[in-house]
Assembly symmetry: C2
Homo-oligomer: 381 residues x 2
């Protein structure tokens, strides 16, 4: 049984003011070609189909078109869950009708999780849910963290399933660590919503969405597919791909990766102006990529962004390596960690880095009273 694992399409995403819908269409048309070549038995989309609960109508139309092509025209079952960026209710509309053609969209978490069974493999689909939702659903007041919530969910599933069959978990969560990470460590960062990978031990394959890099976790059975495209410069060096999973009847599997070529890549380049504007350099470049440019020049430059855009039309972000404010800011952020400073000092440093205005005595007085009020309140707790 072969399935394609993908996630985090984020349709309707706007990156640095640029609507990504055309880029997403470009990537999804390649996705369709890959489906055509691979002829998988199912496509699994592990959440964040949209970038926000109310996506722009172009994104709605794009999703409709792509799902229709894969599911109806190409007769391929699709298993999808909502992620934290999707609106569970909106995504779920109509899902009862979709099932007849094996389009299984899971919007809202339900207490009992009946698997979607495709060619002998059970897909347990768990949409993203806040701990509060899980606490309410399971009527269990002890659930407060994502770790506790997920433990309850996977535990309930594993109680009932047939471990003689291949079982795949489809989820959208921030899963930490490989086999070696202990749950204590995970729980200590529980506030950030992490869950421990050992919660998925009972499953043969765990298909995750949420983190955008396929390398976000190193684990023999728990995987992120990564996002459809690079959606921030922090992802500039990541490989974006789809995971093609060939699963045997005993639950063992192998994975191949197929990459998607973006319409415009998202890259970082740096250099001095003269160099970047030199044909000898830029003729070797794909000039219309989405670029973050770091200028290494010192001193004043006249209108650098417009000069650069004449050569590189899609510069999305420009930074100066020797930007003094920047340097000052970096230093100050380091100093914020210095806990020997008083709250007032810390705030003053912060204020001065964030604004061009004086932190005058009136502001100081105000801040002192705020700090005192907070301390009083904390003391009363």
């Amino acid at each position: 049984m072969k399935f394609i694992h993908t996630a985090d399409w984020h349709l309707g995403k706007i990156v640095h003011g640029v609507h990504m819908t055309d880029d997403q269409r470009h990537a999804l048309l390649q996705f369709i070609e890959i489906v055509e070549e691979e002829k998988p038995d199912a496509v699994v989309i592990a959440g964040d189909l949209y970038d926000r609960s109310v996506p722009p109508t172009e994104a709605v139309e794009l999703l409709d078109e792509i799902l229709y092509t894969i599911n109806v025209k190409m007769n391929t079952p699709i298993v999808a869950i909502s992620g934290n960026h999707d609106s569970a209710e909106r995504l779920a509309f109509g899902s009862s009708w979709y099932r007849h053609s094996q389009l299984y969209i899971h919007g809202k978490l339900t207490k009992t999780c009946e698997p979607v069974r495709i060619k002998g493999v059970n897909f347990y689909c768990v949409p993203y849910a806040e701990p509060g939702t899980v606490r309410h659903l399971f009527e269990d007041d002890s659930i407060h963290s994502h770790q506790e919530a997920m433990k309850r969910i996977t535990g309930t599933i594993a109680e009932n399933f047939n471990s003689d069959e291949p079982n795949v978990f489809v989820g959208h969560a921030f899963v930490l660590g490989g086999k070696t990470s202990d749950s204590e460590r995970v729980l200590s960062v529980g506030g950030s919503g992490c869950v421990s990978s050992d919660l998925f031990d009972a499953f043969d394959y765990t298909a995750l969405g949420h983190l955008h890099s396929p390398d976000a976790i190193r684990h023999p059975k728990v995987f992120y597919s990564g996002s459809l495209l690079k959606y921030s410069f922090s992802e500039a060096k990541q490989n974006k791909s789809l995971s093609i999973v060939d699963m045997q009847e005993d639950g063992s599997f192998n994975i191949r990766y197929r990459s998607l070529t973006p319409k415009f890549d998202m890259r970082e380049i740096s250099g001095v102006m003269e160099e970047l504007l030199d044909p000898a350099f830029y003729q070797s470049q794909k000039r219309d990529d989405y670029l973050k440019i770091t200028l290494n020049d010192e001193g004043a430059l006249i209108d650098p962004i417009n000069r650069l855009r004449q050569i590189y039309p899609n510069v999305l972000h420009l930074e100066r390596k020797w930007d003094l404010t920047d340097l000052r800011r970096k230093n100050s952020f380091t100093s914020v960690k210095d806990e020997r400073k008083s709250e007032l000092d810390l705030f003053e440093t912060f204020y001065q880095e964030m604004t061009d205005r004086d932190f005058d005595s009136q502001k100081q007085d105000l801040m002192v009273s705020v700090i005192e009020a907070v301390k009083k309140e904390e003391a009363l707790k």
Copy 2:
């Protein structure tokens, strides 16, 4: 062949701050009972299923539930179009999947209008569209008004259809007049988006949505079903019903009406405080209806709204019959019609009625320049 004609559900509507979703569910559950009793061959919903392009999630869930019950559980075909309150794109999502169970949702207007054929009757479904959209779609620059747009649409349909079969038009528009209204008159109010009823002459039955009263038009073949519920006090005296249409093979039909009983009626009552707070009066009243109360008392009253709400919890609007401002306003609105007044005088009267502020010389000067600019612009046309 029997179909139920309904429209203007406006799911997600908020009336005077009250979310109507529970009221809508109450009415739609009666609707389902009527479908069960009548066993129609189709349900026709002529637009404005939602109250806004992005309805609250409760409304999304309610629509999903009701359509699923009627269409899938009760195996009844549904024909629906988007109205001016719906988002065509959002409503259309998934519509390709719904067809297999004969749920036909038409979101966006298309150039060719293939009818939905149910038991020998052709339903031509025309979602609401702005004239500009129709102009663009038909590549016809002469289309500027709703009248011109609708003429083009109905004309194109009538060119191609088989008039030996019963043909039903399903639309969402502001249709004026009976047989006697001439299109000139209609065109003279063209700015308000009206279209003339004679555009639908070729159809055996025209099922409309948009106006909320089933009495909005008196015409032998063109009908509004009216809205699901009363959604404003201007509708307080309207009857809300569903139209049950029995259509013969020759296109002749008869209509019956089945009314829906709202959870809380929307009514207007008036009287003096003492009378309204007298058990002898209010015990004869359905006290939890949505009320607009007009108080006939003269002079000052202490906290009338809260005293009334102790008896009538759902007072949505309170008016004083002898409110002086109100009287003044009524008079002034009469005078606005006096066309011998200059634009400046008219505006001054309007300004003084709408605000408590002086229409001083600075404002007068500004207004004079605005009026002059508009006149100049009009002269250039």
